[in-house]
């Protein structure tokens, strides 16, 4: 991995987790890998932050968690999106889109 990777932009980790889990239930490492893969290695997720965020989102009622056997018969904690989580994802996506387009417009003016 020679490409420079950066930590996830401040404040977007929750959204990324919710988005990733909207596809299918996953465990912590799975989420981290998916974020890295999909962003083509641009974003790198700090494990400590990720696991802490998972706990927080679960507490907020946006995620459900369940201990399951993995394919290689290990115990792993799988997270899934709840109904409230879906709603939250919509809110955050819309919010992000608004902000991103605003930044894009500003950058264009600059250019």
């Amino acid at each position: 991995m020679d490409e420079p990777n950066t930590d996830v932009i401040q404040g977007t980790l929750d959204m990324l987790i919710l988005k990733t889990l909207s596809l299918e239930p996953m465990h912590g490492f799975g989420i981290a890998r998916r974020v890295e893969q999909v962003s083509r290695g641009v974003f790198k997720v700090n494990p400590g932050s990720l696991l802490t965020a998972l706990q927080r989102l679960e507490r907020a009622g946006w995620l459900d968690s369940e201990w399951r056997q993995t394919e290689n018969s290990r115990r792993a904690k799988f997270y899934a999106l709840t109904r409230a989580g879906k709603k939250q994802l919509e809110v955050e996506t819309a919010d992000w889109a608004r902000r991103a387009s605003a930044i894009a417009r500003l950058l264009k003016v600059e250019g």
């Binding site: 465990h27 912590g28 490492f29 802490t52 706990q55 290990r74 792993a76």
Partner: protein, 893 residues
């Protein structure tokens, strides 16, 4: 919903801590495994994959902690751990803990106790509605408060428009028979509006009616709750029943509430209407209604300011109206003294209370300084520990939190001990307090004062505790690690030295004040009372009953019966084995007899009728002067010859003789005492001055008359009995001798003169004891402070001392080195303290007696004491330093 989930999850995790912990461990482990597996899948060998996965993740322990710390329950858990750790820390350092807790307990406890005692007197509103409207109204005599006459009260009550109600009151001590022994009740004889002025009414029954406060009106009483319970066992059917007092039946018409407090006379438990004869106000200026012996209170109308009230009274006093004639002794030409009730009950004791309050604030300040000092010392000892914990991953916040927990725990323990000290202290305070201390009933430990001093102390301690943590940085941690624990005295040595100097200075201020008060007490006890107080038993004997009434049909019969009773009682006392001499007097020196009762105007024959002398009138038995050993300077004492029929004879005191006659011989000169419509008394002897009110008060003009020759027979006399041996032991026999003459007469205030002299100085002694206690506490705390700093200094300089010893310094040299260091702090502290003490000494001048605020003995004594105590405090660490073995020290480094 989310909040509920937060709560239940947190509680669940707290309850199943191990399961929850295991889950986090599993999850982190699983993450690590997956990461390793992922890296291996991309072609890395297992070991490399493990290493880089671990690098990416960071320390699993840190991650686990991070994950765990996300919920609120974690804060609870950490606090619990912190608390446990703090408790262990305190247990492992008992010296620090004990000194810390003691300091806090003394500082917090003492200040709470004192404030709780002072608060009801000076600050807390009195327990009446709108207490600010209640005013005390006094006459003026020689610029000071003086009692007023009933005539004056009537005029003010009729003329003043600013007041809702005015009332007068005076002591009434009725004899009550029917019990096992005749007793005397403490009561007040009041005008009908008395309770209305206070703004209270009886809880049971009714208040006095105006019609009951009339001459020869019905005999009615209102009881205190306590007396009602004692006499009638709290029976609600008490109203309308009678109680036999002074040979009369009094009807109970009311009972005051349990929480009613008569701040004017805390001892009062029964009240009756005064029933003055209004006709005498205009008809007879020599009558009782014109005697200045009443206290007066008034309640302002709503909306009338105190100033308006005062001004109206002054205006009335200055403009007599013809329809309100005034006796010469109640002319009001010097105006009235009017003060709010709250200020009035405190006015005599206020300087003492403020001094004590100031002293306790100093003690509290010393406690703060000491706590800061202790905590700083602990902090610098623990720099190594903080460094290690920082290196192991503890954040600065985490370490600070730990420190706050430790200091809070210490503060709580100190606070708990402080409550105990406050309760015990207040109890001791009330027990020790002089009888004149007002509002004793209202003195309970004040929670506000307690939490205030606790909070301030805790905040100061915690702030000081954080000082070492604030300076923790990465570099510090490293240097902290490099230093070994022994030489790690922190950079706060300088601060701590300043603190010790402050402590010494404060201690000096307190000690000088205590020293000056002690010298005053010494001086006071050395004052010659004018008589010999040892082996002297005293008791007050009453004569009540209608047998002693002077009836219009048989004038003088009652009085002569009264005189005969006292003479027979005296004869009986004289026959008691062990009694050397016995006599009686209407006014007993140094007793609580109110001075106003014994003060009369005296006028010599050659004197202008407008002038005169205020003298104490002693109506005494023959042999009174001999019994008390009052010095006879010239002439003769009163004796058995001075009977009713004999020429009227009087003794005058030396001061009175000097002030009127100068170098002339007063013997044979004539004077009036009291009423002027009676035959002259001739001076037959001159006796030495006697202290009447107190050893500290010089009011020596006195006239002694024979009871047979006075114009009225006193109903209460004090017996004085000179004994061969222990005076107190003779009391029961003497009492039964008196009762052998008349079983029904109460005998009260049985007390030896020695004891009475101690009691008469109770207020002064009380303040002295407090100052001594505070001074000793301050001295101890200062000594602990000096010891701590010098010990720290020795620990810090062990290496230097070792080198010095190796280079040939003798033990004496090292001893001197260390002691010099400690004594320098003491010297600075004393220098600063002396300035403060000069101010403090000026502040307590009013409390001193015969002692200059700059009394040399007190000052040098205190300085010497402080120097020697701090020398002792320095000696121990210095001795330890002198024992340092250079070879061991140097090798250890």
């Amino acid at each position: 919903m989310s909040l509920w989930r937060q709560l239940t999850r947190g509680v669940h995790i707290l309850a199943h801590r191990q399961v929850a912990d295991q889950d986090v461990i599993d999850e982190v482990d699983h993450y690590l495994e997956q990461a390793t597996a992922g890296l291996m899948a991309s072609g890395l060998p297992r070991e490399d994959a493990q290493r880089s996965a671990r690098l990416e993740l960071g320390s699993p322990a840190v991650v686990r902690d991070q994950v765990r710390s996300s919920g609120w329950e974690n804060a609870v858990r950490t606090s619990f751990f912190d608390l446990r750790f703090a408790a262990r820390q305190l247990r492992n350092h008992p010296g620090f803990t004990i000194v810390g807790i003691l300091t806090l307990a003394l500082g917090i406890g003492a200040s709470t106790a004192i404030f709780s005692a002072v608060n009801p007197i000076l600050f807390k509103p009195l327990p009446y509605p709108h207490p600010g409207r209640i005013l005390m109204i006094w006459g003026t005599f020689q610029g000071a408060r003086a009692e007023v006459a009933f005539g004056t009260y009537r005029e003010l009550a009729e003329r003043a428009r600013s007041f809702d109600a005015m009332a007068i009151f005076e002591p009434w001590q009725p004899a009550k028979t029917g019990g096992t022994q005749p007793e005397r009740l403490e009561g007040q004889s009041v005008s009908a509006g008395f309770f209305r002025v206070l703004g209270v009414s009886p809880a049971l029954g009714r208040d006095f009616l105006a019609s009951e406060d009339a001459f020869n009106g019905p005999k009615v009483v209102i009881l205190s709750d306590k007396l009602w319970r004692r006499l009638f066992h709290g029976d609600p059917a008490t109203l309308g029943k009678t109680v036999r007092l002074d040979d009369d039946n009094y009807t109970v018409i009311g009972v005051m509430a349990r929480n009613f407090e008569d701040v004017l006379t805390p001892s009062a438990e029964i009240w009756t209407p005064a029933q003055y004869d209004l006709r005498q106000i205009t008809s007879n200026f020599n009558s009782w209604v014109w005697g200045n012996h009443l206290h007066m209170v008034g309640r302002l109308k709503p909306g009338v300011s105190r100033l308006q009230g005062v001004q109206e009274l002054a205006q009335i006093a200055g403009t007599p109206w013809p329809q309100f004639p005034r006796a010469r002794s109640a002319s009001l030409k010097h105006g009235l003294i009017v003060d709010s009730l709250q200020d009035d009950i405190a006015h005599t004791i206020k300087p003492a209370l403020l001094a004590v309050l100031g002293a306790v604030i100093l003690v509290l300040a010393i406690a703060w300084v000491n706590v800061v000092n202790l905590v700083l010392e602990r902090g610098s000892q623990r720099r190594g520990e903080f460094a290690v914990r920082g290196a192991l991953g503890a954040s600065k916040q985490r370490i600070m939190r730990q420190l706050i927990t430790e200091n809070l725990l210490l503060a709580s323990l100190g606070g708990a001990a402080g409550v105990a000290v406050a309760i015990a202290g207040l109890r001791a305070l009330v027990a020790l307090s002089p009888a004149g201390l007002p509002r004793r009933e209202a003195m309970v430990v004040d929670p506000v004062a307690f939490f205030f001093s606790l909070a301030i102390t805790a905040i100061v301690g915690i702030a000081a505790g954080l000082v070492p943590a604030i300076h923790i940085t990465r570099d510090d941690l490293q240097s902290g690690l490099q230093q070994n624990s022994r030489s790690s005295a922190g950079g706060h040595a300088w601060t701590r030295r300043v603190l010790v100097v402050i402590e010494v200075a404060f201690a000096l201020i307190l000690l000088v004040s205590a020293g000056l008060l002690m010298r005053s007490m010494q001086r006071l006890l050395a004052v010659d009372p004018g008589f010999n107080p040892s082996h002297l038993l005293t008791m007050q004997v009453q004569s009540f009953g209608h047998q002693f009434d002077d009836l219009a049909s048989a004038p003088g019969v009652g009085s002569s019966r009264r005189r005969r009773f006292f003479e027979q009682a005296l004869d009986a006392v004289r026959r008691v084995p062990g009694v050397q001499q016995a006599a009686f007097t209407s006014l007993l020196p140094l007793s609580d007899d109110p001075p106003v009762v014994g003060l009369y105007g005296a006028q010599f024959e050659d004197e202008d009728p407008q002038t005169g002398h205020n003298v104490f009138r002693y109506a005494v038995s023959p042999n009174y002067c001999q019994t008390l050993s009052i010095h006879l300077l010239s002439g003769r004492c009163l004796d058995e010859q001075d009977t009713a029929g004999a020429p009227q004879a009087a003794l005058i005191s030396e001061s009175l003789a000097k002030s009127h006659f100068g170098s002339q011989n007063p013997l044979g000169k004539r004077l009036h005492v009291g009423p002027r419509d009676r035959p002259w008394y001739a001076v037959v002897g001159i006796v030495g001055d006697v202290k009447q009110t107190s050893l500290a008060i010089n009011q020596p003009d006195a006239v002694y008359l024979s009871t047979e020759q006075t114009w009225f027979a006193d109903d209460t006399l004090s017996f004085v009995i000179r004994t061969h041996d222990n005076a107190a032991a003779l009391a029961p026999v003497v009492k039964s001798a008196i009762w052998s003459v008349d079983r029904s007469q109460p005998i009260v205030r049985v007390i030896t003169m020695d004891r009475m002299m101690a009691v008469s100085e109770a207020e002064r002694r009380f303040v002295l004891i407090l100052f001594e206690a505070f001074g000793i506490v301050a001295l101890m705390l200062a000594a602990i402070g000096i010891y701590g700093v010098v010990s720290g200094n020795v620990a810090e300089r062990t290496r230097e001392i070792g080198v010095r010893a190796a280079l040939g310094a003798s033990r004496g040299d090292i001893l001197a080195l260390i002691i010099r260091d400690g004594m320098r702090l003491t010297a600075f502290g004393i220098a600063i303290g002396l300035c403060g003490a000069i101010a403090a000494a000026q502040g307590i001048t009013t409390l001193l007696f015969g002692t200059s605020p700059l009394d040399l003995i007190a000052w040098t004594g205190v300085v010497l004491m402080l120097v020697s105590v701090s020398a002792i405090a320095c000696w121990a660490p210095a001795w330890r330093a002198a024992q340092v073995d250079p070879s061991i020290t140097l090798r250890a480094e």
